[in-house]
């Protein structure tokens, strides 16, 4: 048996992704309608944001364009979880029906194999929307642009995405232990919508909760400070890549632990 290196995993990943796209294309009407639905969601999100903030010049010392920056940043950061980890939504059903076991018989990492099965192309619309918003606010804020900033942006966007992925993994994995896990996943999804607001508007208790317990502050606020207010960075901002990795590792462990535990109870 050859060693399973990154190239091996990448190749399989794209093969399995391609199959998902092919099968989605075979339900074309559904695909088109879902894509339109997704675009609707993004537009509606933007419209409600715009309606609120056109009434107020600033919030808690954050200008309209800064808020817009956070908004765009969060949209981009939420794309990977939408595109690449959407199968977490089906986990509950796979576990209850017993179909989950089929993922356990392959000589590849279980988590990887499960997540690779679905690629949600609808998320790409959100990505485009996010990039547009970010670029627009970037321009209006006159932040300037150089390679270093771009690198920073990429690194911190990735960390933000990883935090959201970790949150969703952990929420989805609750289905290995409890019934009605849908509510947990739904709750996390509802809260990610609030990631786009500066955490300073909350009281210290909730600042703590949204930083360490349900770390939605790492989805937009902390990482975008690095670009937005480079003179006034919080220490947590700089550490956000490390924290993202830690959160992800914990969520991965929970997920895998649950998966192997579940097999004992399933028939």
């Amino acid at each position: 048996m050859k060693k399973k290196d990154l190239r091996f995993y990448l190749r399989i990943y794209f093969k399995i992704l391609a199959q998902d796209l092919k099968s989605k294309m075979s339900y074309r009407a559904d695909f088109i309608i879902s894509t339109i639905g997704m675009i609707f969601t993004n537009i509606a999100g933007f419209v409600s944001f715009w309606i609120i903030f056109r009434n107020f010049p600033s919030i808690n010392g954050w200008s309209y364009y800064e808020m817009l920056f956070l908004y765009g940043f969060s949209l981009i950061a939420l794309t990977p979880v939408q595109c690449l980890f959407d199968n977490n939504w089906n986990l509950r059903i796979a576990v209850y029906s017993g179909d989950f076991i089929k993922y356990c018989f392959r000589p590849v990492n279980l988590f990887f194999y499960y997540q690779s099965e679905v690629f949600d192309i609808k998320g790409l619309g959100q990505l485009a929307f996010g990039i547009g918003t970010l670029a627009y606010s970037w321009h209006h804020l006159g932040l300037g642009f150089d390679i270093l900033m771009l690198l920073k942006l990429i690194v911190f966007l990735i960390s933000a995405s990883v935090v959201m992925v970790a949150l969703q993994n952990a929420a989805a994995a609750t289905c290995f232990w409890i019934q009605n896990s849908f509510y947990v996943l739904d709750l996390v999804t509802r809260f990610k919508d609030y990631a786009k607001y500066p955490i300073t508007i909350f009281s210290p208790v909730f600042r703590f909760i949204f930083t360490f317990i349900m770390p939605i502050a790492f989805i937009a606020y902390y990482p975008s400070l690095v670009i937005l207010r480079p003179d006034n960075i919080e220490i947590l901002s700089l550490f956000s890549p490390v924290i993202a990795v830690v959160f992800f590792w914990i969520s991965y462990k929970i997920w895998m632990h649950g998966a192997l535990r579940y097999n004992g109870t399933g028939s």
Binding site: M1, K2, F8, R11, I12, K15, I16, Q19, K22, S23, S26, G98, D99, I101, K102, C104, F105, R106, P107, V108, N109, L110, L260, N263, G264, T265, S267
Partner: protein, 333 residues
């Protein structure tokens, strides 16, 4: 021959919640709970050689799939040891998976919306099968079954029989050392059953693959297995050559008749007529266990037809459940 699977004193326990009944019971359940430990697999030992086809039998809930889950590495034993291929499966799930193939009942592991050949190509990458081995395997498949029409059909469009066939082919694709087949012929018609049995037999001969087959259908066992292991309530009841089992049960058949008149009274009367036979009522039928060494089925039927008007009749092979019952009643070993 060398041992490919070695199981020693294998035990798996589960904790099961015992629920109390009624509203009062569930309120009590809120505060205190009783757990019962269930031994799904109880002290099972066996050694399986490379190339064997072993029939692993037992009624529902006997512990068959728990044993298989432990052999495939998705479940950790409570105690005892398993070695497949010289490795401990649950410690090296991924490495173990490379050397095994699994077909689990009617749950397809193929990609629902893809033509079969596309599924094969993904499996080729996952199991890192080189081009030559892959093509050789496809050629072998072609020589055994008519797969070309299947290859370009999506799994979604296949009949249950075609899907099972495809799943079995997929399980053998990477030339694993062991293949686990769980109820491969369930729900299939007679012709398809025969096809699938022929295929499994041929692949086992050709590739010397060890096959562990769990089934309810004695026909599968009869057609494929040299050896059977019977398990009930987690305990091993029987592990021996199929010939020995056949010597004991091969002569038994079940004759089912439906005479005119009231079923219960007729059954009672038949019971008196055929002394020494076990006569029971099963779903709308009167079922008679016939030992062909004592009396032929046709003789029994002839005798019945003299005194009763038979509307309908069926002939069945003895089922796993009957075999297990017989083993309990008078030990075979």
């Amino acid at each position: 021959m060398s041992a490919i699977i070695e199981i020693k004193d294998l035990t798996k326990e589960f904790k099961v919640l015992e629920r109390r009944e009624g509203l009062k019971g569930s309120l009590q359940d809120l505060f205190s709970r009783n757990y019962k430990t269930v031994r799904a697999v109880d002290n099972v030992s066996m050694t399986i050689e490379q190339g064997e086809i072993v029939g692993y039998l037992g009624p529902n809930g006997a512990g068959k799939s728990t044993t298989i889950k432990m052999m495939t590495g998705v479940l950790e034993p409570t105690s005892g040891t398993i070695l497949t291929n010289g490795i401990v499966p649950y410690k090296n799930r991924s490495k173990n998976a490379q050397e095994i193939g699994v077909v689990f009942g009617q749950r397809t592991q193929l990609w629902w919306a893809l033509p079969l050949v596309e599924s094969f190509k993904i499996l080729k990458d996952i199991y890192q099968i080189n081009d030559k081995d892959y093509n050789d395997m496809l050629d072998l498949y072609r020589s055994l079954v008519d797969i070309d029409p299947l290859l370009h059909k999506t799994v979604r469009q296949m009949s249950l029989g075609q899907r099972t066939l495809s799943d079995i082919l997929a399980a053998f694709l990477h030339n694993p050392k062991i293949v686990f087949l769980d109820e491969p012929t369930i729900g299939l018609d007679v012709a398809m059953k025969a096809n699938i049995r022929k295929l499994i037999h041929a692949l086992n001969k050709e590739k010397n693959t060890t096959v562990i087959l769990t089934t309810h259908d004695m026909g599968d066992v009869d057609a494929l297995c040299q050896r059977t292991v019977i398990i009930d309530k987690g305990k091993m009841l029987y592990d021996n050559d199929i010939e020995q089992l056949k010597k004991f049960f091969g002569s038994y058949r079940i004759l089912k008749v439906r005479p005119t008149g009231e079923l219960e009274t007729q059954a009672e009367s038949i019971k008196n007529e055929l002394e020494g036979f076990s006569v029971r009522i099963m779903d709308d039928w009167i079922s008679i266990l016939v030992d062909e060494e004592k009396a032929g089925v046709m003789d029994v039927l002839g005798r019945l037809q003299r005194s009763y008007k038979i509307k309908d009749m069926q002939l069945e092979e003895i089922s796993t459940e009957e075999v297990i019952k017989k083993i309990y009643e008078g030990g075979v070993n």
